[in-house]
């Protein structure tokens, strides 16, 4: 049997709101995935390194401090710099719709905002990270 999907759930910058990140981490774990939660205050470089070292299929970034337009692009850059663009990068938090559109344009695969059903997030991760696994092996 194939090993389960492996997802890094990350908190970056100075944002201490970890309720959402922890709920998502548990929900993905309950859905049968392996979840690595980075803990708080991680630098974008560290998050990407963790994902590469752990051979993760996806990175989910949670930001509720308003710094999303800085921190999401920094991770996109790091994924490019470390040649890891196959890793599915998604995120969530208090992110206005225009900002979410802009982030998707630069390479964030999906943005989930407050109230998004867990089932949608789980489906997205299973589908996208599953595809990645098939491609990368």
């Amino acid at each position: 049997m194939a090993r389960p999907l492996r997802i890094v759930i990350a908190k970056a910058g100075l944002d201490g709101h970890d309720r959402g990140a922890k709920v998502i981490a548990r929900a993905l774990r309950d859905a049968g995935m392996e979840v690595i939660y980075t803990g708080l205050f991680q630098a974008p470089e560290q998050i990407v390194q963790t994902a590469i070292q752990e051979d993760a299929d996806g990175i989910g970034l949670s930001i509720l401090s308003g710094a999303h337009m800085t921190l999401f692009p920094l991770i996109v850059e790091q994924l490019k710099a470390q040649n890891a663009q196959d890793i599915v990068f998604f995120g969530g938090g208090t992110i206005p719709p225009e900002d979410a559109e802009e982030l998707k344009r630069i390479g964030v695969r999906e943005i989930f905002t407050p109230g998004a059903p867990l089932a949608n997030i789980i489906n997205f991760v299973q589908r996208e990270c599953g595809n990645r696994r098939e491609l990368v092996g």
Partner: protein
């Protein structure tokens, strides 16, 4: 138990117990609604069991012991004899964004529209002890609140405001003692002596480790900073509330009402024990301790939480800590409506949620209140949203007449039963915390963090299964909803400008004076018999920046890291 009126020989229709039997039969035949799960009907949002109706048999109540009168121990019904008949709660809207100048303009707006006191929201770098030009601050400057790096910023923040005339609440914890030093220095520069300053600095570091996660130093050295601050205020700032022991963030992190109540009060007892342990008389500092609670959407549960909080605090302060001054026993608290109850979907609905939550806070006897703006779940409040939030309080205060009778729900079988149940659950938690050896030990063991994460996951699952309904989110959704409310945005130019201005402050000060002040502070940090507060005031007066001061203190105390679990 409240006694039932004896009615010997009465006809069934006049006999209370017989009536109860008839009702029970009728009730058993009722068909339950199917639009929500049974959990949403039989339990509060915090999972406390609910009955269909409460009667005298449900309430264990000794009137003098448990209820008493307003302003009389154990203060269940309120801490003032006439409550809002004599004085309304303070309408205190939390505000701060961008730089000090922008926030100062918002303060002038709020004060000119009838707000009573100010409440400063700081940005993340300020809360975490980083200057605006630190690499850790990128993207965060001015976003969640106002950026305050040095005395120059604090000066601008209160420009044109008489600091002796208003009270100010500052929501800051890790660097709370530095924020207080900045406030004192800014006021004294404008000619208001520290003894005349009124307000609160949140300074509740224990709930940071438990829930909000804005810490800097490890818990044990940080407790010393708190004791220093409380001692300094006792001696030099008699009108200042030294600490605002906060359940708000515990609740926002996903706790239940009982957890919010229990963990907050346990934190309060830990501060009392730290001060008493440092040789202070309990009545010399306890009257200036204050509290801060969340008002969530489960209406009656919240009212009971506030009532139980007052009673528990009074009982423990009197019986466990030997406090004698009534002010040491009276719990004063601020309330904020629940940010976590607001929804990004159909954000105007949040105005209604806030109004109910504000009503619960007032029926629970709060001393001051912040009502959230409808758009806070999306961004910082716009001016229009902030005004509606303030008007919500004014309608409540002046139009509904709920202010005219003290504790109007007191004596309700349901309210008293639920108040008792919350007190019982809090006492259970106190025992469990004691088994760890105390609050700090329980933090280190991850106890609070785990309890809260479990509760928040349970709640999320109940939305997922539609056991509970959240209007606009898992029911009554509007497909293709587009938000057309105007959002406040903080540009990147602001960050650059603020970074330049803090660099200027560092460049233009008397460097020798700054170095000396910093050396003295480091020495004081290492000397448990000194008090850091006067040294911090010297540091900020020498225009040392917050980041520099924190760095120096971290050199002595180290920095906290959390053991990660989910």
């Amino acid at each position: 138990m409240i006694e039932r009126p004896a009615s010997p020989g009465a006809q069934p229709e006049n006999d209370f117990s017989a009536q109860e039997k008839i009702w029970e039969n009728a009730s058993a035949k009722g068909k339950r609604r199917k639009d929500v799960g049974s959990g949403a009907v039989d339990r509060t949002i915090s999972d406390l069991p609910l009955k269909t109706i409460y009667g005298p048999q449900d309430v264990e109540l000794d009137l003098a012991r448990d209820l008493s009168w307003p302003s009389i121990y154990p203060y269940t019904r309120g801490i003032h004899p006439n409550m809002y008949r004599d004085r309304l709660w303070t309408m205190r809207q939390f505000a701060g964004f961008g730089n000090a100048k922008q926030t100062n303009e918002r303060y002038h707006f709020l004060l000119s529209h009838g707000q009573h006191g100010l409440s400063v929201a700081f940005d993340m770098p300020t809360l975490m002890g980083y200057d605006s030009d630190a690499p850790q601050a990128r993207g965060e400057v001015g976003k969640c609140g106002v950026a305050i790096d040095s005395l120059a910023d604090m000066d601008t923040l209160f420009d044109g405001i008489d600091m002796g005339d208003i009270t100010t609440s500052m929501t800051i914890n890790g660097p709370a003692c530095i924020a207080l030093a900045l406030y004192v220095a800014a006021a004294e520069k404008k000619g208001t002596p520290r003894s005349k300053l009124g307000g609160t600095v949140q300074a509740d570091i224990l709930k940071e480790y438990i829930a909000q996660k804005e810490w800097i130093f490890p818990p044990r050295p940080h407790m010393r900073l708190i004791v220093d601050m409380i001692r300094f205020c006792r001696d030099e700032m008699p009108r200042w509330n030294t600490i605002s022991i906060s359940g708000y963030h515990i609740r926002e992190a996903g706790s239940t009402a009982a957890q919010e109540l229990a963990f907050t009060l346990a934190d309060g007892f830990a501060y009392v024990e730290a001060c008493v342990g440092a040789g202070m008389d309990v009545d010399s500092f306890a009257p200036r301790l204050s509290f801060f609670f969340n008002s969530h959407i489960d209406f009656f549960e919240e009212i009971c939480k506030f009532r139980a909080a007052r009673r528990i605090w009074a009982r423990h302060m009197r019986d466990r800590y030997g406090a004698k001054d009534p002010r040491s026993l009276q719990m004063r608290f601020h309330t904020q409506t629940a940010g976590c109850s607001a929804t990004a979907q159909q954000p105007e609905n949040n105005i209604v949620r806030v109004a109910y939550e504000a009503l619960a806070a007032v029926l629970g006897g709060t001393q001051s209140l912040h009502t959230n703006s409808m758009d806070e779940v999306l961004a910082l409040p716009s001016e229009k949203a902030a005004e509606i939030a303030l008007r919500t309080q004014q309608v409540l205060a002046y139009e509904t007449n709920v202010t005219n009778v003290v504790d109007p729900l007191g004596g309700s079988y349901f309210i008293e039963a639920l108040t008792n149940e919350l007190e019982r659950q809090a006492e259970d938690y106190f025992k469990r915390i004691e088994e760890f050896g105390g609050v700090i030990e329980a933090i280190e063991a991850g106890f609070f963090q785990r309890e809260i994460a479990d509760a928040s996951y349970r709640y999320q699952r109940s939305l997922e299964t539609k056991d509970r309904i959240l209007v606009g989110v898992n029911a009554f959704e509007k497909p293709e909803e587009r938000q057309d409310i105007e959002l406040l945005r903080i540009g990147v130019e602001m960050e650059r400008e603020q970074a330049r201005s803090v660099a200027d402050v560092r460049g233009n000060r008397d460097q020798a004076a700054a170095r000396t002040a910093l050396e003295r502070l480091k020495k004081a940090c290492a000397d448990p018999n000194d008090n850091v507060m006067p040294h911090l005031i010297n540091c900020v007066n020498a225009y040392l920046t917050e980041g520099e001061i924190v760095e120096a203190m971290a050199g002595v105390y180290g920095r906290y890291t959390e053991k990660v679990a989910f």
